[in-house]
């Protein structure tokens, strides 16, 4: 019996190999083995198609997001309750983090929106667009309430702020420039269809899914450990979405205020912000002479375009190495690197390309157009980074007069920690009176 089976095995293999060697290409399109003719009553089982599992539909998630944002506004403006915001932080971490497990989040949606503008074939989902727009809309009217506790990435970091230390201003400002570079790169890579780097280097998604490779876990755990001392490092120094939120929140119609009443300059809130986003009053501030100030401003304003050109040039030089990260460009390089007369394809990609029967010219044209996009994009990215750095430089050189303790409108994460420090707050007043 055994011998019979190995005999059939052998015969089958010989037959199949013969077919293959004879190169009946058309034959491979058909079924090699005829459909069975069952004598018993046999019906083909259905190939199952399990749908995506989720607690709620995508648009329900949008409604929940909006509800949470409204709740955050309520806690920031109406009840001025840090406790409420803390509860919201925990709730968001549980729902948007551990239950919904991240995707698509407003941070990552930057890339989806960008791709939809540059790739007409990409279908942007309505819920993704709304996830992108709604927190920005709220920032325009109420400041960064999204960051206060709704963003799951912010929430997980906010809960580990144990012993925040104050960074020197230069370090704080310097590190915060990274997010502009990250933002620019993310837009460039999404626009060229190369990849979604924000999602790829998301530090906390591994925790939310309780499943990730060691690199991701180390990155996330490291970020949380640093976060115990340097509060919310991802939000302050890396988050690309915070670039957009910052622009919106800076001009917001309303914004969190430290005191519900007039500031009495008691300095109690001075150390309450773990992110160092409270501006202190400088009543002894003396404006410098107009002549000197103007001259410096003129020099800086002239320097900005030079800075932009410099960065733009650097961006254009880096365009080629960045383009190599694109799948199509890399494939073209691999094919060009194939040794002369090689019979075996050097990589799986080359193999797949050969099997697909796509034309080499079409592939080359696509790769060249992507390269061109990277070149233009590299310039634009450089100009953007140069402009941002230049404006930051100008801003740092200007001195403002302030009378009260105020949150930095662009950066303030609306976490409400300063509420607890203000003695004007009714709740705090009652506590101090022993009620």
């Amino acid at each position: 019996m055994i011998r019979l089976h190995s005999m059939t095995t052998f015969l089958f293999r010989v037959a199949v190999l013969l077919v293959m060697v004879m190169g009946f290409q058309a034959f491979s399109q058909e079924n090699r083995f005829p459909a069975p003719e069952f004598e018993s009553e046999y019906t083909f089982p259905e190939t199952t198609q399990p749908p995506q599992e989720g607690l709620f539909s995508d648009l329900t998630d949008v409604v929940i997001l909006t509800g949470f944002l409204l709740l955050a506004c309520y806690f920031v403006f109406k009840t001025r309750s840090r406790k409420g915001l803390f509860g919201l932080t925990v709730a968001s971490l549980i729902y948007f983090g551990f239950i919904r497990q991240g995707c698509v989040c407003p941070i990552g949606s930057i890339q989806n929106v960008t791709l939809s503008f540059f790739d007409p074939g990409y279908a942007l989902a309505l819920s993704t667009l709304l996830f992108f727009v709604i927190p920005l809309g709220f920032a325009l009217f109420a400041g960064r309430v999204f960051c206060s506790g709704i963003c799951p990435l912010g929430a997980i970091q906010d809960l580990v702020v144990l012993h925040p230390i104050r960074l020197p201003r230069a370090v704080n400002e310097g590190l915060s420039m990274f997010k502009y570079v990250y933002f620019g790169l993310a837009v460039l890579f999404a626009a060229t269809g190369t990849g979604f780097i924000i999602c790829r280097f998301d530090p906390f998604i591994g925790f939310f899914r309780l499943n990730a490779n060691p690199g991701m876990i180390f990155f996330g755990a490291g970020m949380l450990m640093i976060g115990a001392f340097i509060a919310r490092p991802y939000c302050r120094f890396l988050c690309p979405y915070s670039v957009l939120l910052n622009w919106m929140s800076r001009f917001s119609k309303w914004h969190l205020s430290i005191t519900p009443d007039h500031c009495i300059q008691c300095r109690l809130c001075e150390d309450s912000c773990p992110f160092d986003y409270i501006h202190q009053p400088n009543l002894d501030h003396k404006p410098e002479s107009r002549r000197i100030g103007l001259r410096r401003l003129n020099v800086l304003v002239l320097a900005v375009p030079l800075l932009m050109l410099l960065f733009g040039w650097v961006g254009s030089v880096l365009a080629e190495p960045m383009a190599q990260l694109n799948h199509t460009v890399a494939l073209v390089e691999q094919i060009l690197d194939e040794p002369e007369g090689a019979t075996e394809p050097s990589t799986d990609s080359v193999d797949a390309f050969r099997q697909s029967g796509q034309s080499w010219d079409a592939l080359l044209a696509t790769a060249n157009s992507i390269r061109k996009k990277f070149y233009v994009g590299g310039w634009l990215l450089g100009l953007f980074i140069g402009l941002v750095f230049g404006l930051k430089w100008i801003r740092l050189s200007l001195s403002w007069s302030r009378k009260d303790y105020e949150p930095d409108r662009g950066n303030c994460l609306s976490c409400g920690r300063c509420f607890q420090a203000c003695p004007n707050d009714k709740e705090n007043l009652l506590i101090s009176q022993g009620v």
Binding site: H5, T9, Q52, D58, S109, N112, D351
Partner: protein, 186 residues
């Protein structure tokens, strides 16, 4: 700086902020409107185009879910119901039994059921399938190609940036509508 000039400065500041706020609202509204025109009601999910797939085994190792959300599926109407299934048995199998040493599948994820002489049904046990595509490869090379890989959406967490798609040498991953989330051959 006396009080009145301070008030003036404040008013000017408020005016500037107000104008910028309106401008930004307009920009965001414009962006949303343009986006809305392109936006589709249904979300997308990842799926493998079986025509492009080259069964390279990346699906079993690159997925963020473990074991991979990519599984082999059996497309029954294509299957030849062979007694000697090339996707099931080792080429040098001593006998046609489900003993581990005879199987291609490293996890015993294919169930072999006798229907009638000489036909056998092959089912995938998805809870143990790791999506390594060993069976898929042999079924496509020697058989009817009724085994092929599909992303199973009850397992897939639908990452915005699919890790396997990024590593796929054949560019076989694509975003498909959530309403029709499978690319089956039949």
């Amino acid at each position: 700086m006396n009080e009145s000039t301070h008030d003036k400065t404040l008013k000017r500041k408020e005016f500037i902020r107000d104008s910028f706020q309106k401008g930004m609202t307009f920009v965001l509204g414009f962006l949303a409107a343009v986006g809305l025109r392109k936006a589709q009601n249904s979300n997308t999910v990842w799926q493998i185009d079986p025509e492009k797939c080259i069964h390279c085994e990346n699906c079993s190792t690159k997925c963020v879910v473990e074991p991979s959300a990519v599984k082999c599926v059996q497309d029954y109407p294509i299957c030849g119901y062979c007694q000697l299934c090339f996707g099931y048995f080792q080429p040098n199998a001593n006998e046609l039994t489900s003993a581990a040493e005879n199987q291609i599948c490293p996890t015993d994820a294919i169930e072999r059921l006798f229907i009638e002489d000489p036909y056998w049904e092959y089912n995938i046990r998805e809870d143990v399938c790791i999506g390594c595509a060993k069976c898929v490869h042999l079924c496509e090379v020697f058989g009817n190609a009724s085994f092929y890989l599909q992303v199973r959406h009850d397992v897939c967490v639908n990452c915005n940036d699919c890790s396997i798609a990024r590593h796929c040498p054949a560019d076989a991953f694509e975003r498909v509508s959530k309403d029709k989330p499978y690319l089956l051959k039949t």
